[in-house]
């Protein structure tokens, strides 16, 4: 079973992303939620995940710091990090991609956009299973 972490200080945003994942056929994935980067670090240390979806603007530890930590940790370096934020723009998106983000999407996302973005990762995971 795939495990997906959703990190956002808004419970509504986490629920909305969860719903989009269900609509695109990832409803069977185990969802791990956290309200900020620090809480995410604790949960990622206990439970490995296949995909991390995070907001950028969060209290305590924001999404950029979380991305930096993930990409700087050898065991997590290959973990795809999808950033979904309302604070995105071309300049920041470029920086986040250079830091190792898999993709950066602007809120509000739609299931179609999410599916299109995640398609390469879903395929790769399926290939690993075979």
């Amino acid at each position: 079973m795939k495990r997906i972490a959703i990190i956002d200080d808004s419970g509504c945003a986490r629920m909305f992303i969860h719903k989009c994942l269900e609509i695109i056929g990832l409803g069977t994935a185990e969802i791990i939620e956290a309200a900020d980067g620090k809480e995410a670090l604790a949960k990622l240390g206990e439970t490995p995940v296949d995909l991390l979806i995070t907001d950028l603007s969060m209290p305590v530890m924001d999404g950029e710091a979380l991305l930096r930590w993930v990409k700087g940790t050898p065991e997590l370096r290959d973990l795809p990090v999808l950033i979904i934020s309302s604070a995105g723009n071309p300049a920041r998106e470029k920086k986040l991609l250079e830091m190792g983000a898999f993709a950066v999407l602007a809120k509000p996302i739609s299931p179609v956009t999410l599916l299109h973005t995640l398609e390469p990762i879903i395929d790769a995971l399926e290939d690993e299973k075979r």
């Binding site: 945003a13 603007s57 602007a106 509000p108």
Partner: protein, 153 residues
């Protein structure tokens, strides 16, 4: 950017946000500053590059209708969940708006602060937008000199 494009940037931001998140269509900027009954509101600071504040005010009945669309009509939602939805809506609208009026510029938003009852007095120089959703009013305000300086003269 023209004044018309500035105005349309918010209309587009609100339309995209409500259609995608609350599955609700809006009527464009009505321009009428009619009172909002039983209001709930949320504010959001813009820290960089043009400090200012956004404010979203709407009737509690409209927020409840949006919540019903998002969580399902039978969901029993607490105050915190409603505030959370309100905050997420403004966060998304603000991001969409700034993305249009500050193309290519990095911006940093604060954490939304929600409240109910009469909202704090608005800056007299603030820029207002009024919309209708499900025949109920919804008000957006942008204030703060640095942010408003980005508005075309």
């Amino acid at each position: 950017m023209t004044e018309k494009e500035w105005q349309q940037a918010m209309t587009a931001a609100v339309t995209e946000t409500l259609e995608n998140m609350a599955f609700m269509e809006i009527q464009g900027d009505t321009g009428e500053l009619t009172p909002i009954d039983d209001p709930v509101w949320v504010t959001l600071l813009v820290h960089e590059p043009a400090p200012g504040e956004f404010r979203l005010v709407l009737p509690k009945a409209l927020l409840a209708a949006m919540a019903g669309n998002v969580y399902g009509p039978t969901a029993q939602l607490g105050e915190q969940q409603l505030r959370d939805l309100l905050a997420e809506l403004l966060n998304t609208m603000a991001g969409r708006f700034l993305g249009r009026i500050l193309p290519g510029e990095a911006f940093r938003l604060g954490i939304p602060q929600a409240g109910k009852g009469a909202p704090p007095p608005a800056d007299p120089h603030a820029c207002h937008w009024r919309f209708l959703a499900e025949e109920l009013p919804l008000s957006l305000t942008a204030s703060g000199a640095p942010l408003l300086q980005r508005r075309p003269a």
